[in-house]
Subunit: 480 residues, 2 copies
């Protein structure tokens, strides 16, 4: 058995970021490629992150009155096509079932790439009156999109997500919902994933197929590439007209409902890796780590093991998920393994430590070690340390990201920035798709979002691209 | 608005059980049919039951060392076919994707009907040494089987389930796992679903395609029809040989792993309905109900509402999930709605009650009402009531089921029983498939299971069918 695996085998993220990313995914045993082309196997360590994400988001959704449902995986072609823009948007990526029960089907069935169509069809059958509204439903499921190039968590043919679909009696209420869900995602990114984000509206070119408008949470990875991390769409009456979802309003008149959808996916695991992790492997915010503390007994003497068990029970009882790694490997190997796996805190207990009445706590985020007296209140010491790590990860990511936010007044400035270090570029825009397409010629720059009013800044008077009068400030970036 | 909906619209279960069942599903808003043929929409009330089932089973799995993973939805045909019996078993029910990204695929992909193939392929790639064993993985997902006749929860083309797949270094360990998981299911049925079950081994004819043997949990519905409710399979080395899952054992020799799988599905929701519910709608065991207590204020005076809020907070704080139904409907309507939805306890608070210093508690299972003084310890009173309901449901189901367990010595006795009231028939069997097929001629009777040694009974010396020397006692029944 090798005694020093792990972090030595990880490519440096400053040398080859893409290679580093797949090394971390592999070494931390988050996922592997499967023999189903373009699809991954979510291994226990990767799936545990998703379970944690699910449990927090699910609670946030339920606290705001949402309920979970489950709609079919397969969508009949005819149902899929009722709204024109959505099918146009998703047709190139659709996978179709054509054979079932040994027979060629009369109508082919699309594996859901997203479920607006099915939800609309369902709502049309159950919504009759304003008293039935709103319906605030969410679904946890997998979706399929026939991607050509794939990368674990970031882009694969099948991924896991949640998709909220709501219908409302008024435009105002539906728009409030759209914004509320964006804010929930943003809060989740901040408070749990420890990832700072920029929120705003997508340009018409970048919005979801079939949406009146799309709100987005955009975050920046370590390498300056941006990631669309969660989206919330306002549909107005587009689907309700196509699928005939009507209700008798308070004036006893038939009206079409107002609709939203919003989603976030296992892509967030990719964001976690690319924002926080380092050359020693995975780094996880304590609030998202399924195991928060590992206790490594340096020697398994009775005294050491007794202390290890004592602390494991003590911390677990207080809700700090702790395990003992007493495997038959060197301490160095076990340290490295816990680091690769992103365990936030490591407690080292050795006979010499105990003689001096102390144990050692090591932080995964900074590598710092502190000695703690065994007479200290260990629960509060570890709790505080976990909080510190959570906050430090956010602040570190924020500081790094802020250094990669640039402003540009014209294309020369844009090019100059992009030739050094990519990031978010704040620049004014006239509102024309033509200019968006021109920006794309520079290393694929796309508009990430139009920040809301309170985050709008005045960079210059004129469009960064055409020089005509600017309408608003847009955040640009290269996307995953 | 009608004032007395609900339970009056439910067909009596003694008049037309099948109609009663679909009435309950519809009125309790558990599920509706969707426009994807053979598939249902799990509505909030139905999905909430599934979430509760998931949370309990998931905890039980994790407590016994299992971890969750997620493997792809799609299985390449070639991978699906590596083990002959499984594909033979599932081919008639398979759905195939033949088009992806607007192109005809070179190899068609099967939507998973079950995932032995993918797990085996995955294990073959990650298991190298006895040190990697056991792998105790579980997956929560949906599966697809192209059924012809469907019925909500009991049989539909797509359903939700969990499938555990484990690999072990020894036969003994794998067999222990197979039995352990059966026992976990059985305990879950008893302690949570309040459903008494018979456990045992399937005959070769009835075992899972590709298994060495299959253990099963069999329960009996109100109408005497039996339901295969959960299964646990021992595969031996059948898949590990087909998929070449080998490991270096402690003697440094290459050996094929020993494998199990086990699963339970949303079919359990069907069992819950058909065992406990009645002509007034759904009845749920308190441990599975997502809402345990509804408080119905008879009038919304300040005093009544204050008390309602007080009790709602008090009970919720103690983990008893309670809500207030203060909707703009008559008390009778609200009572009926809570009954249809299977809320275990209803607390009625009216001004007259309060004048007399009391509130009324109504049990969903028996309909009994009791007056409780507002000076009583409400938390302990309600807790005890919920326990009583949980126990009563189990005992009631057990008593009813026991009345429907018959013994038969020959075919005349079998026919006589089946002409009156179906149920479980205990009868001796010679072990031949021929006799199993003969039994099937009597209203479709099938062997449900061969109970384990401690549950074996000696009914007679000879096979119920052919009269030759009997090998063992088998439980027979008509199945859903």
């Amino acid at each position: 058995m090798k005694d020093n695996i792990n972090n030595k085998e990880i490519t440096s993220r400053d040398v080859d970021f893409a290679k580093w990313y797949t090394d971390v995914v592999r070494m931390a045993k988050l996922a592997t490629y499967s023999n189903t082309k373009g699809c991954i196997v979510f291994e226990p360590n990767g799936y545990a992150i998703w379970e944690k994400i699910q449990s927090v988001l699910d609670r946030m959704f339920k606290e705001t009155g949402h309920q979970n449902v489950y709609l079919p995986l397969l969508i009949p072609e005819n149902l899929m096509k009722k709204e024109g823009e959505l099918i146009n948007g998703f047709a190139p990526e659709a996978a179709w079932v054509t054979i079932g029960g040994k027979k060629e089907l009369d109508e082919k069935l699309c594996i859901r790439p997203t479920s607006e169509t099915l939800f609309s069809d369902y709502y049309a059958s159950v919504v009759k009156s304003y008293r039935d509204l709103p319906k605030l439903y969410n679904q946890w499921c997998s979706v399929l999109r026939w991607e050509k190039e794939t990368r674990p968590f970031l882009r694969s043919r099948e991924f896991l997500w949640q998709e909220g679909h709501t219908v409302h009696a008024t435009k105002e209420e539906a728009e409030r919902e759209t914004r509320q869900m964006l804010d929930i995602y943003n809060r989740f990114f901040h408070e749990y994933l420890a990832i700072p984000s920029i929120i705003g509206k997508k340009t018409d070119k970048e919005k979801f197929a079939g949406a009146d408008y799309t709100y987005t949470v955009e975050s920046l990875m370590y390498n300056g590439i941006s990631l669309q991390s969660a989206t919330s769409h306002y549909f107005g009456q587009r689907f309700s007209k196509a699928y005939d979802i009507t209700f008798l309003n308070k004036d006893n008149k038939l009206e079409h409902v107002y609709q939203t959808s919003w989603g976030a996916s296992t892509r967030m695991i990719g964001a976690l890796i690319m924002v926080h992790s380092d050359d020693r492997g995975l780094v996880l915010p304590p609030k998202i780590a399924s195991k928060q503390v590992v206790i490594v007994p340096i020697k398994d003497t009775d005294e050491v093991m007794e202390k290890a068990n004592y602390y494991a029970n003590l911390l677990n009882d207080k809700g700090i998920v702790t395990y003992i790694d007493n495997s038959n490997k060197s301490a160095g190997f076990r340290f490295a393994e816990a680091e690769v796996n992103g365990i936030p805190v490591r407690m080292e207990i050795g006979p010499r430590d105990l003689e001096q009445g102390q144990v050692t706590l090591a932080r995964r985020d900074t590598g710092d070690k502190i000695q703690v007296s065994i007479n200290d209140d260990m629960v509060s010491t570890v709790s505080k340390l976990l909080d510190d790590i959570q906050n430090n990860l956010y602040n570190r990511a924020l500081e790094r990201r802020n250094k990669m936010i640039y402003t540009a007044k014209d294309m020369e400035e844009v090019k100059k920035i992009m030739n050094t270090q990519p990031g978010f570029i704040k620049a004014m825009w006239c509102g024309s798709e033509e200019c968006e397409l021109k920006m794309k010629e520079i290393k694929g720059l796309k508009s990430r979002c139009i920040p809301f009013e309170d985050e709008q800044e005045h960079i210059s008077d004129t469009c960064v691209c055409c020089g005509k009068k600017a309408k608003e400030m847009v955040v640009w970036g290269i996307q995953y």
